[in-house]
């Protein structure tokens, strides 16, 4: 619509105001806004009246009081002397950890399963179909319950934990994997590695120029092995010239009844992460499959006919077009993942909803804390849709 509103339009061609399209359009907007405002206003007044009658406190001030309960494994420094509001943020940090790790894993697993469904290998494609159909038809909460009570807490006790030497251990206290301990010499070492990469990149450009002048390939001088050698050399140099190693390997060791060291995924975190990842991935797989299949086969044949390699076809023809179709529904799945994270309550992972329930028990401020929760999830949702919109604009087909 390119009609610009102005006051003259109200008398346009002698059409009465109430039949004037422009006027009606604006009037509807005003009316709609009024209607929404009155409904919201009615609900708010109703809420305040009822709260007053029951003597329910509506002030948010008590959220500043001492929390007095623990938020285990908070990403931000937390202890029980902090405020309720801060405990809420600590819970939110746990949610964010779950969602970020979950989103990455979901994407990876989803893409693998989605491509597997398209595989020409009969067994692989059927297995992927079973996975997708199986998981999509189980309620997420049932799946999470099953993983936690049926699978993870029935793992052996720490003393009889399953061990895979060098990789990690699995017990009903959690999954511990070997991790890296970084020392203060990590940053200088990384600088060495970066310098090596830079040198390799420059060298490669020099080689290209040299080849252009030469008019033929300058092998064996210009191969990726030469470049790899340079980077490795710099990395080794950076390691040996420094007094301490930049990182060391940290293995989980049994101390008393618990393991110490290594990277730990608690049973609760692992249960909810696995449940969300595997479940959402079954939806992502279908999105990926649909997106790949939506690229017209003729284009692939044309690309092949033009002499593009299989890799070039995938990277330059299929993926850019598939991504454009896949990303908006993928954003929807990330939103699902975030909302699903509240199911951590059934397995006891201390994310924001679990913390909120403890906070309600501790303060009795049910209404305020639920409002806080709703607003928080709303903000996260808006962030997702902003990212989605930004991506959509970015990949919009440019029409000339």
């Amino acid at each position: 619509m390119s009609v610009r509103p102005s006051l003259e339009i109200l008398n346009y061609h002698g059409v009465p105001v109430w039949r004037n399209v422009i006027f009606i359009r604006y009037a509807m907007q005003v009316f709609a806004a009024l209607a929404v405002a009155s409904v919201v206003g009615f609900l708010a007044v109703n809420l305040m009246n009822n709260a007053e009658q029951r003597g329910v406190n509506l002030s948010f001030r008590l959220l500043q009081t001492n929390a007095g309960f623990d938020v285990p494994y908070s990403l931000i420094p937390y202890d029980s002397s902090r405020s309720i509001l801060y405990a809420f943020l600590a819970g939110l940090s746990n949610t964010i950890r779950l969602v970020v790790i979950g989103a990455v894993l979901t994407t990876i697993v989803g893409i693998i399963i989605g491509l597997a469904r398209l595989s020409s290998n009969w067994l692989i494609s059927k297995l992927a179909t079973v996975y997708v159909e199986g998981l999509r038809n189980i309620p997420l909460i049932v799946f999470a319950f099953f993983l936690f009570y049926g699978l993870l807490t029935t793992l052996p006790q720490t003393k009889e934990a399953w061990r895979i030497p060098g990789v990690g251990v699995a017990s009903n206290r959690g999954i511990y994997t070997t991790s890296l301990d970084f020392s203060s010499s990590l940053v200088p070492w990384l600088l060495f590695v970066a310098a090596g990469l830079m040198a390799a990149y420059m060298l490669r450009r020099l080689f290209f120029r040299y080849e252009e002048r030469l008019g033929r390939l300058a092998r064996p001088l210009n191969t990726k092995y030469t470049l790899l050698l340079i980077v490795t050399a710099m990395a080794v140099l950076g390691w040996v010239v420094q007094p301490t190693a930049p990182f060391s390997i940290n293995q989980p060791v049994l101390e008393g009844v618990n393991f110490r060291g290594g990277m730990r995924f608690t049973t609760e975190f692992f249960a909810i992460l696995a449940a969300l990842t595997l479940y959402i991935a079954s939806y992502v797989a279908e999105i990926v499959r649909g997106a790949v299949q939506s690229v017209p086969g003729g284009q692939l044949e044309a690309a092949r006919a033009l002499g593009m390699s299989y890799k070039q076809v995938i990277w330059n023809i299929v993926l850019p077009q598939a991504a454009r179709i896949a990303v908006p529904p993928m954003i929807g799945q990330y939103v699902n993942l975030t909302k699903g994270s509240a199911l951590a309550i059934v397995v006891g992972y201390s994310e924001v909803f679990v913390v909120s329930r403890t906070a309600i028990e501790k303060t009795g401020l049910a209404l305020q804390i639920f409002i806080l929760l709703i607003v928080t999830y709303l903000i996260i949702g808006v962030i997702y849709s902003l990212i989605g919109n930004w991506y959509n604009r970015k990949v919009l087909i440019v029409e000339r």
Binding site: S80, T153, R173, V257, I360
Partner: protein, 411 residues
């Protein structure tokens, strides 16, 4: 599109009409002002008899309008009073009577207190109390009560929503809950928070320091969570906490080294574990755990009514009135306290609470006195129990038998 906008318009007109109606008084006032102006004008130009009749008719109209306004103001203030009534005295009883049913709230997996037996029937101390309240209000509990199930962590929200009549859960009373949840009625169980630990965990029973660096399973959203946190500060220890709706299965499978719950319940839970001998219940208590039922804030009549039922049951135990001898007692007893309790003579406030004079007789006949009720679920003698498990009366014994249970006299 066109249809949608028409609907929207219609809805808006309704809204505007509502808003317009609410400003009715302003219109009346405007009318009065207008009439006043007319009267003044007529008086000013009054020179003949014709004008006088005009003034008379205008004055009559003015008075009529004034009456209308007064009536409108009265009805508006009455409406405003009605609006504050639902939270006030007597509203809950009226609601329950109109509904014909008492709605109680509980969990469905607390042995001895709120649970569903093999036949799918509601059982437990809390359920019997729900029936007792229903009996007091309706004279009988058949089809007069209903249980709604929530989880432990939903209690604050449920209480603040104010939809339920009475919460018949094992609610631990503390100051903050009293202020923010509702009113706790008579405390019927003076328990302590207990600890149970696994023998193979390296925890020494009754040694708080040995909990350091261990793992605790605890019921999410209960007062045990902050209580456990207090332990950390008190003894300078630190332990991992896993909060679950039902922590028992996870503890049984070895996810945690110890759990915290009502001490009486711990012994009961231990018997259900895969290997009961692998656990020990501590003698030490980690805090007070007094249990009471809960009613919402704001209706004192309802609060008193519920407590009256409990007082009658406790007094009946004290006076030796049971479900078996209650009819006989009512007919033959010479004890004035018994006669008053059973509604044979005198009155001690039943009327203002909206109860029948003989509600005590009904409750004792249908449910029994406090002792009978407790025996039904916590008796040492298994043949007397219809469910539950053995729990010594200990502190829950009557005040004159060395316990803490005390109810005011019914006089």
């Amino acid at each position: 599109m066109h249809k949608r906008s028409t609907t929207l318009l219609a809805a808006l007109f309704v809204l505007i009409a509502i808003v317009a109606c609410s400003n009715n008084n302003d219109e009346l006032q405007a009318e009065i002002d207008d009439l006043k102006a007319q009267v003044v004008q007529a008086k000013a130009s009054a020179s003949d008899a014709g004008a006088q009749t005009e003034i008379d008719s205008l004055t009559a109209q003015l008075n009529q309008a004034k009456d209308d306004l007064a009536a409108a103001v009265t009805s508006a203030s009455e409406a405003a009073e009605d609006a504050t009534q639902p939270g006030g005295w007597g509203s809950r009883l009226k609601l329950v009577r109109d509904r014909g049913k008492l709605i109680c709230v509980g969990v469905n997996d607390h042995p001895g207190f709120n649970y569903i037996d093999e036949d799918g029937e509601w059982m437990g101390y809390g359920i019997e109390m729900c029936k007792a309240y229903a009996t007091a209000i309706f004279g009988d509990h058949e089809d007069r009560w209903e249980m709604q199930v929530i989880s432990w962590a939903d209690r604050p929200t449920t209480m603040q929503a104010g939809k339920i009549d009475v919460m018949v859960l094992a609610n631990t009373q503390n100051a903050r809950r009293e202020a923010t949840w509702g009113n706790f009625t008579t405390i019927h169980h003076y328990a302590g928070m207990g600890v149970m630990s696994r023998l193979d965990s390296g925890i020494v029973a009754d040694d708080w320091q040995s909990l350091d660096a261990k793992t605790l399973c605890v019921s999410a959203g209960t007062n045990y969570v902050p209580a456990a946190e207090d332990l950390k500060g008190q003894y300078g220890i630190d332990f991992e906490m896993v909060q679950l709706d039902d922590p028992m299965p996870a503890y049984d499978q070895g996810r945690c080294d110890f759990i915290i719950a009502g001490k009486a319940d711990l012994g009961r839970d231990q018997a259900d574990f895969t290997n009961p001998d692998a656990h020990v219940v501590w003698d030490s208590l980690m805090g007070k755990d007094p249990w009471g039922m809960l009613v919402g804030h704001g209706d004192d009549q309802w609060y008193d009514l519920i407590r009256f039922v409990e007082w009658v049951m406790i007094n009946a135990e004290e006076l030796g009135v049971t479900s078996e001898n209650v009819d006989e007692m009512a007919a033959t007893s010479e004890n004035a306290r018994i006669r008053r309790m059973l509604g044979v003579e005198g009155e001690y406030g039943q009327e203002i609470l909206g109860l029948d004079l003989d509600f005590g007789h009904n409750v004792i006949k249908k449910i029994g006195n406090f002792h009978e009720l407790v025996e039904r679920f916590y008796s040492k003698d298994e043949s007397k129990r219809i469910g539950g498990f053995f729990r010594p009366r200990a502190n829950d014994a009557l005040w004159n038998q060395g316990g803490l249970l005390f109810a005011p006299g019914l006089e």
